[in-house]
Assembly symmetry: C2
Homo-oligomer: 705 residues x 2
């Protein structure tokens, strides 16, 4: 774990110089002065503008050099061309941070890009860390510091144990105002703008380590370093602090817009999703989803579910059914209640109540001041089959029900969530009472189930991470020296397979024979059925050249095939050097595709999927970041929708998932050990045989860079 | 179109008898008296209870017979066993409607079921229409009539041009209270309970015809008559009034709970979804989604989009990107702007603004009192490539921006939606101003895009429906008389194919030969490669019997195959009558599966999907309600995820979708014409050849009932 750069003086500065300060408080250079003087900031504010002696009752300084020390941040509101010299002056004046809210940099064409490059050079020379340009600024809700501009900065915010890092200032801060309305608090928020210097990753890395931050919300279009993102995901699991991430720019149209908006490269969304799934991230796609997740994690942080086994208690059959639908959809399990629980419930519940899971207490649950409803909740909460509970309460619920529920929930260490169909403005006092006492309230079954599922996802991944830390798996094979051509090249099938074999990946039996030898054969070189393929360094895509024959069943067919293939190859490329015919056993089993790429953002990545339209059309592919072990590979395998096919689908015997996982892991080691040379690997197809019979590569292609 | 039963006296009764009226106003027999006297009901209320002379200042009647006429509704709050006689008395007393809020009927075991059957018999005899039992009652918000019980009935409701029919009273009414909080109005709401008599479909059919109802919201677990549901969907399109439907009980766990909650049979969710997709339904799955849809349909009812081509205008790059992502995800199209539009925009927009679609006006859009932003909106609204517009406005927006936007939008007949990241409580006056002037406000990009997509889906289906009405397609083939065995039977492949041929569905060439004839063959009976299959009325599943050989390439192989198949068939069933070996051409093309079932709820249904795991594991199947024409079949074909495979995937030639659609349509006619006899049809596989080459059934199985 690298030591994160400290940004504590950025978010909590003793003094702020506002460079380009304006008398007109509605302008970009004037707004920060209002925000810094009217909302409770207790540090010093130094307007900088050579044209004025004083602005808004504050002494105005002619330049950065003349500002009293210590000054921790320069907020720069000058037009683009004037920013760079000021950053240089900040370095000389010992101001460690600059926040540049001006625009007209990399987001504005070639000229702006050049301007930003100069700015970055100045930043490096001056030893200053710079936020922006083209950002809205830095918000410290806890200490009432609103160091930026924009109408959204004047809103009401609520402090709380989260930090936000946003690549879109406008969108991010608008989410914060909604969060405040829902009572969800955030201590710190930074708009990163063009990220010339300080990046989303820098800030997330910093915030996640802070004691007053229990989680970080990141609104992102992309990052430059996928491996650092993955590292952050691990750290999040280690600390038990989730990173809530909202990734945009994922559709083709959206991506183009994102590229025009920021200048960084956008990696495929699927790789981001893989990174999120493998680490301590909670991916959100909607404001409400984010706020619900922030709420449930804040309240249940110290009470994580031990498993996803969920009980549902309701006074409305319809709500119970809907909760059940949504829980199942989100991967929560609804086990049957223990017999002892059912027996106890029968002693006091209405005869027409439904004692299953979901449990429908019916309208009778509303009677007797909820005494029996509370007893029901308590009984189910004690059920050994149940590790968490959702309790539906009527919209008209009052203090009696709430207090009873609080008392019952206090007697258990299992998380309880309340499905209460009201909006936050309707009964804020009662909602506060419930939530202050450990009972997060969710306004609809769908939202509640999704939030609870997020909590369970994180808990499950943390358990797995901790278990893996305790018992790390050894490498499947030590790094192997490989003899590779010095230059970029597409290796032949034969060479490619030899490299796979060097890492212990099984390939089909094959012999390389000349056309003449085949013509003279009296016995098959390997048992039928066979495949025959041209072997030529110039012909990488043999099928396209018509130089492959499959399912050869006799010596005659083999001889014909050899002649045809040679002729086709000569026709395809008259200058190709033909080294012979590769005669191979026809492997059997389930065809899968295993690939590997070296992604510019995420580095070496292994891909897995079923062949044909499953990968190309239906995009049913999973991704793993190399290197990885076999248990990680198994997660990858089970990540595809078609994975049931491997586990004995519809009465067919289960396939050798162990061997497949081993192959994936070995391929990840091959790629990771030689990432500086290997650009791509394709194993297409790999045949997976029935359990215990292994997996074998029938064709392979390695591209060197 | 059947004439819907009129429920106008049910929802707007001149007088209501409360049978089982109680002095204790907190009890189930007392609550209705408060609800009917304290919330503005202007009709008469007649408590019925032989024990009292007066309750709450109202004269109390000893029985239903003594209640003054006219009385339109009897609200019955008696315990289960006492309900039936009262319903009989209602008939005698000329009371046309009974609303039974008591429980303990079909939801409560065998005894309750019997009670409900008696009740239904009484209903039929008495000529009374009955709502419930086990329901919450009937709500008429427009006329302040709260004819039911439950805490939720005391809430604030807002009138508006919608009606709600809910199978879960508790859940449905809780949604209504949230709707009221969001300012979404509903005139009528009925909880249907066990639906012993009056069903969800009866009421929806009635409400959709009312002039003061622009759409109906239905919360359902299931219906008994799928065809009537489909008919309602057609009527909804005809009237241009959507049916918003929230279907629950779709997961296995949820379905079990639903079955225990209501007694009706639950059809597969996928058939409901097909019904929804083919008619004027908007399926919703979340309270917010419903309310957003109700809002956008109410405001844009007279201004439906002409196509799904959408423009996005934003002052926040991040919000624009997110809107773009979500629009694309929901099937909205973001076309490039016309050149003339771009040219005009360049004359007044900031140089660093992004003039694409989404259009990012940047923070500059907030300047000049929004004059340029309004000009931007107006310019894009006039773009011929754009049929509707999403305008993002900052959370801090005020009257100036709103009024400008209203003026601009008024100048166009294209729908405009506002993405405004605030909650309803934050600025209700401005939101009301915008919405009263035709600009629905959505609180987040995701919710806005989904609501707009719902509007577009409905508009598209209505266009298609109207076009089809104007030019109905003729039947592909007239009804054919078929010679079918009298009894239930599984027909042989040969017989099954003959029936397909009778409806003009092509099947592969085949000859039926005896084993002896094959043994003596000197020439192949059909060109190689061939398939050979046992022909025996006793062996329906030939592959399982080992009695099929494929890809036979020589006479020797054919003879061996015939011997092996015969032996395998004899071993499988020594008593099977072997009628010969069917020798068939091996068809080529894309393998698809076409099936047909006779569903107990939805009747004759045709299924289509790719073979193998696509149908069985990935559930990539579409459903069509027979009979249908080829254009409907094409929608079915394009409904599967893998449909790109048929249209020339990755450079392969496009396949004969016309022939496939024709086959589906003919199969639907075969099934519909003979639905009283045919239980199931399987064509597995059907081979679809390249465009112009047709499609051909290689195997078929028909099950008669």
């Amino acid at each position: 774990m690298r030591e994160p750069h400290s940004f504590s003086r950025l978010i909590n500065p003793r003094a702020i110089a506002v460079v380009g300060a304006s008398h007109d408080l509605s302008r970009i250079g004037g707004q920060p002065l209002r925000l810094l003087t009217e909302f409770g900031y207790r540090g010093q504010v130094y307007p900088v503008n050579p044209k004025h002696k004083e602005i808004k009752g504050l002494r105005c300084y002619p330049n950065v050099a003349s500002v009293p020390r210590p000054c921790d941040v320069a907020l720069i509101a000058l037009s683009g061309a004037h920013v760079t010299p000021v950053v240089e002056q900040c370095g000389a004046a010992g101001i460690p941070f600059a926040v540049v809210i001006s625009s007209g940099f990399s987001e504005a064409g070639a000229e702006g890009k050049a301007l930003q490059e100069n700015l970055l050079a100045a930043v490096r020379t001056a030893g200053v860390r710079l936020v922006g340009p083209n950002c809205l600024g830095v918000l410290n809700v806890k200490e009432n510091i609103r160091n930026g501009f924009g109408g959204v900065m004047r809103h009401t915010f609520v402090p709380g144990p989260y930090a936000m890092v946003t690549q879109s200032g406008g969108f991010g801060f608008s989410v914060l105002t909604t969060a405040a309305y829902y009572g969800v608090g955030v201590n710190y928020a930074i708009s990163t703008g063009n990220e010339a210097d300080v990046s989303t990753l820098d800030l997330t890395e910093y915030f996640i380590e802070r004691d007053d931050v229990q989680g970080v919300f990141v609104f992102m279009e992309g990052v430059k370093d996928g491996r650092r993102l993955i590292g952050l995901g691990k750290r999040a699991l280690e600390l038990g602090k989730p990173i809530f991430v909202w990734k945009v720019g994922n559709s083709d149209v959206g991506r183009q817009a994102a590229v025009s908006h920021s200048s960084r490269m956008i990696a495929g969304y699927e790789l981001f999703q893989a990174a999120f799934r493998h680490g301590g991230f909670i991916e959100v796609r909607e404001t409400a989803e984010l706020l619900d997740a922030l709420k449930i994690f804040r309240i249940h942080r110290g009470r994580m579910p031990r498993s996803n086994r969920t009980g549902i208690v309701s006074v409305s059959g319809g709500a119970g059914v809907l909760l059940a639908d949504r829980c199942v959809e989100h991967g929560l399990e609804l086990p049957p209640l223990a017999t002892t629980t059912k027996d106890e419930l029968r002693t006091f519940m209405a005869p027409f109540a439904s004692i299953a899971n979901p449990i429908d207490a019916t309208g009778a649950g509303n009677n007797d001041s909820y005494a029996s409803y509370n007893r029901l909740v308590s009984t189910v909460l004690n059920d050994p089959n149940i590790d968490q509970l959702i309790v539906r309460i009527p919209s008209s619920s009052g203090t009696v029900l709430a207090q009873g529920l609080i008392d019952v929930a206090r007697g258990s260490d299992k998380p309880v969530m309340v499905d209460w169909p009201i909006s936050p403005g309707e009964n804020p006092v009662l909602m506060q009472l419930l939530e202050d006492n450990g009972l997060p309230c969710m306004p609809s079954p769908g939202r509640g189930a999704r939030a609870l599922a997020a909590l369970n996802d994180f808990a499950r991944r943390k358990r797995a991470y901790d278990a893996q830390l305790a018992q790390p798996a050894p490498r499947a094979i030590a790094p192997q020296a490989l003899e590779l051509p010095k230059a970029a090249a597409t290796l032949s099938e034969r060479c490619s397979k030899q490299l796979l074999q060097a890492y212990g990946i099984p390939v089909v039996a094959e012999v390389l024979l000349s056309g003449d030898v085949i013509a003279a054969l009296e016995m098959p070189p390997l048992p039928f059925p066979l495949a025959a393929k041209i072997e030529s360094p110039q012909i990488a895509h043999k099928t396209e050249a018509g130089a492959v024959r499959l399912d050869i069943r006799s010596l005659d067919e083999l001889k014909t095939a050899a002649r045809d293939i040679t002729a086709a190859a000569r026709k395809f490329d008259p200058n190709a050097r033909i080294e012979g015919i590769s005669v191979q056993e026809m492997a059997r089993g389930l065809e899968v595709i295993v690939g590997a790429i070296n992604d510019p953002i995420f580095g070496p990545v292994v891909l897995f999927g079923l062949g044909g339209i499953h990968t190309e059309l239906l995009k049913d592919i999973t991704h793993g970041f190399a290197p990885f072990d076999a248990s990680y590979a198994k997660q990858m395998i089970d990540g595809i929708k078609g994975s049931a096919l491997l586990h004995g689908f519809r009465g067919s015997p289960p396939l050798d998932v162990e061997a497949l996982a081993d192959t994936l892991s070995r391929l990840s080691l091959l790629l990771a050990d030689h990432a500086e040379r290997i650009a791509e690997i394709d194993i297409n197809p790999l045949f997976v045989r029935t359990s215990g019979q292994g997996a074998v590569a029938a064709d392979a292609l390695i591209v060197l860079k």
